[in-house]
Symmetry: D3
Subunit: 291 residues, 6 copies
Amino acid sequence: MSNTLKIGLPKGSLQDATIKLFAKSGWKINLHHRNYFPDVNDEELTISMCRAQEMAKYVEDGVLDVGMTGKDWILENNSDVVEVSSLVYSKVSNRPARWVLAVSGDSPYEKPEDLAGKKIATELLGVTKRYFEEKGIDVEVFYSWGATEAKVVEGLCDAIVEVTETGTTIKAHGLKIIDDVMLTNTRLIANKDSWNDSWKRKKIENINLLLQGALKAEKMVGLKMNMPKDVLEKAMKVMPSLNSPTVSDLSDPKWVSVEIMIEEVAVRELIPELIDMGAEGIIEYPLNKVI
Amino acid sequence: MSNTLKIGLPKGSLQDATIKLFAKSGWKINLHHRNYFPDVNDEELTISMCRAQEMAKYVEDGVLDVGMTGKDWILENNSDVVEVSSLVYSKVSNRPARWVLAVSGDSPYEKPEDLAGKKIATELLGVTKRYFEEKGIDVEVFYSWGATEAKVVEGLCDAIVEVTETGTTIKAHGLKIIDDVMLTNTRLIANKDSWNDSWKRKKIENINLLLQGALKAEKMVGLKMNMPKDVLEKAMKVMPSLNSPTVSDLSDPKWVSVEIMIEEVAVRELIPELIDMGAEGIIEYPLNKVI
Amino acid sequence: MSNTLKIGLPKGSLQDATIKLFAKSGWKINLHHRNYFPDVNDEELTISMCRAQEMAKYVEDGVLDVGMTGKDWILENNSDVVEVSSLVYSKVSNRPARWVLAVSGDSPYEKPEDLAGKKIATELLGVTKRYFEEKGIDVEVFYSWGATEAKVVEGLCDAIVEVTETGTTIKAHGLKIIDDVMLTNTRLIANKDSWNDSWKRKKIENINLLLQGALKAEKMVGLKMNMPKDVLEKAMKVMPSLNSPTVSDLSDPKWVSVEIMIEEVAVRELIPELIDMGAEGIIEYPLNKVI
Amino acid sequence: MSNTLKIGLPKGSLQDATIKLFAKSGWKINLHHRNYFPDVNDEELTISMCRAQEMAKYVEDGVLDVGMTGKDWILENNSDVVEVSSLVYSKVSNRPARWVLAVSGDSPYEKPEDLAGKKIATELLGVTKRYFEEKGIDVEVFYSWGATEAKVVEGLCDAIVEVTETGTTIKAHGLKIIDDVMLTNTRLIANKDSWNDSWKRKKIENINLLLQGALKAEKMVGLKMNMPKDVLEKAMKVMPSLNSPTVSDLSDPKWVSVEIMIEEVAVRELIPELIDMGAEGIIEYPLNKVI
Amino acid sequence: MSNTLKIGLPKGSLQDATIKLFAKSGWKINLHHRNYFPDVNDEELTISMCRAQEMAKYVEDGVLDVGMTGKDWILENNSDVVEVSSLVYSKVSNRPARWVLAVSGDSPYEKPEDLAGKKIATELLGVTKRYFEEKGIDVEVFYSWGATEAKVVEGLCDAIVEVTETGTTIKAHGLKIIDDVMLTNTRLIANKDSWNDSWKRKKIENINLLLQGALKAEKMVGLKMNMPKDVLEKAMKVMPSLNSPTVSDLSDPKWVSVEIMIEEVAVRELIPELIDMGAEGIIEYPLNKVI
Amino acid sequence: MSNTLKIGLPKGSLQDATIKLFAKSGWKINLHHRNYFPDVNDEELTISMCRAQEMAKYVEDGVLDVGMTGKDWILENNSDVVEVSSLVYSKVSNRPARWVLAVSGDSPYEKPEDLAGKKIATELLGVTKRYFEEKGIDVEVFYSWGATEAKVVEGLCDAIVEVTETGTTIKAHGLKIIDDVMLTNTRLIANKDSWNDSWKRKKIENINLLLQGALKAEKMVGLKMNMPKDVLEKAMKVMPSLNSPTVSDLSDPKWVSVEIMIEEVAVRELIPELIDMGAEGIIEYPLNKVI
């Protein structure tokens, strides 16, 4: 009997990053022009490209077994699904995105309460309504079909609730942020029945394991170098290796070869230190997966 | 005191056609990159570019005095506005668009009733729900964030309600249309208070007059020719002129010059007939406005 | 009974110019993405977009009743079709294109005879072979799949036979032209049986009449002006009007209004002359068709 | 003997508008890819595409007989040339462009004097230096290789002198304008010797005549209508025609046909008035040239 | 004396993949705009970019020593060349492409024999003719200048022979495949004389060795991990390493470090197994060449 | 107290290569649309994107602490800055660029002296003037706003001084090079005061160390293989390793594993030799940094 797992991947701004992440994890996906079912080199998988907004509904209904979508849209849809894991990656930075409450930069509004009786435009209707209800602020919230920032500038509403990673687009429209409504990032979610099916659950867990391994590898590198044996102990203290370093003897008995896995961002600080200690022949190489 | 009329024009697929129509009508609009208020050569007008979906709400609320949007979105929003006129133009053909109920080409569904208990995806949520309620058919209707045709192909829903001018995209996805849900075309709508303001109403009526004149001119041309005086009467019978033809004498007393305004599509039939009658020196010239 | 005429229009470099020419002639053609049969506002026509190279074959076989293609490809295919008319228009200039024999600018070849025993690359295989046979020059002619000019530069052949309007691309590759192989321009061709069918022949003739009228109008304009009555006779001599000018009286009995149809290129010479004679209020307007 | 006039046209932002203007004036120019001498349908002309900044130098030196460039670059180069005429057209609006002195929107600078001792970046080095010298303000002016607005934002200078038509880009960078340095628009300039050559001067004057005629026609239209004879006098008073209207009799002796040439922008006001007076069958048609 | 090898690489759809493959193999090729001879960092090579269809002819004639092209075009040209090796890579998948016989999805044709007397369009004229001759089926085969699938849809032919990797484009046109005409993939081919020249043969063999090494490396990765010494034997059985694994001691005598080279696609199955066995600190790294 | 280093990176043709080089070196830079200060994952850095032409001025003035620009623009600006290092990388090749003196291919000019009294166009005004002054040749040098090669073709000047890496663009315009004016490549330059500040100098030196390490790694690879122990000594002689090779024992005592770091370009020669010696399981892997 051949089992199949139906997986939904997000269309749009995260699409390319997702296809790349799966490729690094071991699944090569080809999006054919005019073909709605992308090819993948795994006969146990069927892939659907869906809008992030609709994903949670399809997973909850069982149309899909598993899907990737944002925390924001899971809450917006009130979907009853299993959150398997968080996946921190994005199209711009590696920061989680946030939905913010923003108003015109030259408006008198300084806090949510100042907006009582005003009009709020947003694509995240349900979450926004709940946000104001919980605060006991009476506002009119209406659905915005895109270009939400511009609506404040054009005088079509008084405030917006919009998603941003860095705040750049918000500022570029001359708006100011007066509150955070919610933080969000990508989640791997599963249908409840699929999660209770042992074959499907094992498959989902393996996919998650390899996705996490690929994400981790994006931030790490391998580092190899030769160093005098007598500085090894001192060097060990400054090297934040994932595992214990691999130390090998060299033909010259006074020297050893050392190999470590470390965060790439630490390398630019570490190399000058290692050179000061006498390390030589330092090479850094890239990693595909770190598990 | 200087009066101002706030007018909303539709962003997106109709945007270029609308800017062009206004230019022909006498208003040159410049959409500046990064500037939300387009320039227009009329100090009495302020222009906002809005999504067609949101236009009726803004007009109803009085944020805008007047706007152009589809009949479909006026109904979807249940907006209480004045419908000033219909404007028949489009991005592809000159046919009005229609929202159709479509299912997979190889599905067994033949009529709306066959969809009882099924899932329907659409961007026109309210109208679609009312359509099924009026027929007494119980279905689940859910909102689709675009690429609606693909959802049937991918098995994410059983049927869709989607807009089409020619049916081409529907067919290209292998779908079949089983009912018309509504016909729609562009309307000029006004806020009720604005319509009751005499200055604003006059301004709106003038804009409408010139828009209609420019639309009419797109389908008409001027035709001038010389013909023997003795065939004039016979020729008059086959020439479907807007006004009575202008007939002028020529130096040769046996000939006259005739000028008419006719539908461009009639010209290709008319010219061979006129030549058979002896007409000569036929020229056709374009028109900007016909009022 | 409803008759239909199947017409083939050329894909590729002439496509846009052809669609525009038909629009001016009275037929609006819409090329839908993913739809092989373009829409046209005439129920008696069916349109196919074909490669110019293949058109004559389809017309000869009766798959199409009528088509537009180059004289070159009619000869290359040795097609037995009716040549209804020539249509002088192009994507760059209004000169007919020519197939030329070209060699490297620094090669010793000066005339076709110098190429005896050499390799000639061309897309126009049959015509080229006949050209050399008629001259009694023994060469190897082989088919070139595009980018033919580059083949001389890269040393893949000794000479090419390639089409050009202005010679610019030939020169830009450092080649020199040593002979003209043939002149070519667009022809309207008809299937022999279709031409003998009276309904189809009438339809083809009407289409041709209007295409020619639209082509003629591209080079002509209408010119209107006021002039003193006493210079009219003198002015008449310098005005190369298509028909005799239309002269109308004005309220000032010393002046008349004169209207002529002339070649646009003549206007820039004529206007200074007319001004010298005392003409005033000269306006020029565009024409759609001149028949 | 064949005379030739060498004319320089501006590359870059005005290029397309210029080619179009010449086409309307009667000269069809083809810019061939890889060919530095554009084709033109006039054997007496040779065309060079030049940067506006360099044009005046080439005309002054006699490398070109005549050229189109901005007043700004004529002054910047201190060129000794004949200014034949002004040509009011642009890529965005029809307003003349202006070079403005701009500073950061949140800086304390309010007037040129506040910039004493500061750094000014500009592409218009000479004019800017003279501007400050004439005011007796001591500043450091340095040349900016493009993206000048951004330099204030990035803190690379204190103020800029930059060209703008509508101020939109200046504002979009958060800058404020504190003075106008100069107004500029396009000029037709001639070399002094060429201007003294009678054949060349005549040719230049003819080109100028037709360019001006085409520019004027862009803003005007022809208007024809039928009206009751008894309102004609009243209607005449509101019709701002270029020439006196052409009035023709119609078969119905109570009606006349009236034709006028008027500014397009006036049409939208005039038509409602004429309809109120009883005019009918109003048509508007486009013009190519008005001289 | 300096020897040179002339190599032809395919233009068009495989061009980018080929340039990348050579870069991985050690040859950096720069395609300069307007330069027909690409730069390469090897003075012993001269590179020509050719159409795949023409490559075999040039290699057979000795214009090129060696070239890359498809098996299909070698057969179509009946070229007498040395096939050095197969290179399995493509622009979409890694499957070999195939030329298929396809007909309209709603046609009655089910097998090649049903097409007797019909018209077949193809770009692969010779191979297609031979295919039908060998089967003893009498058909008219004619050359198609591209867009071959559309010809069935438009009724211009009854069947086509066209190349496809995944069948997607065939299906998207509503066609069905009724036979395979031939499988094809890329070959490295050599001129017979070049192959008999010892210097050239050695050079060709080295290029082939490194191309194959780079292709193999695309599918493989390096995997390193730490594992308890006592599971090593068991782990060895599930690890499909290219070579025998490299096992190194760690400071903790109960653990070893293991490094293997395996197919990337096997990793996603292997890692969960290894983790179950107790492996830790698993990292995967990319490879450039595997020989 | 938190220190900050202001660094200027070149906009334009080197921008992408520079961003990539910094990423490899450990600094991830995000250029946000509409944001002039790119994000970087180092709180001690502030980044400005500047034109290469203006960089040296900003570094000299202390507006920036450190910047990357070409030797050419440092000389052109006569800037008094510290040249920290050379960085050999480019957008096309890895050769340093050179400014050359070029004339029309069919002109009589053969050497700089032949240009006495002639006009020279260039973007590098100062350096060019000094070049001719030092040779004692009297010429008119004027500033060229881009498209300099075309100016010779169009007859606007007699010679140009223009930058080129490979000479391709020069030749494509039909020009010939008659002298080298200067060689140039990218330099890391520092402000004198910044260089004397110990914190800034240390920071600059670290950045330089890692940039150099990333550049070096672009040309090197890691190579691992197994070989019979008895050929090790012979193999050592042909392997140009950066460091001494790392040799490890394998379970088969007759074989060893050898790992070296070598120039990638040497690999294609070395691998066939190693295979001849009996090496097996050769793999090559990429490097990020080599220090």
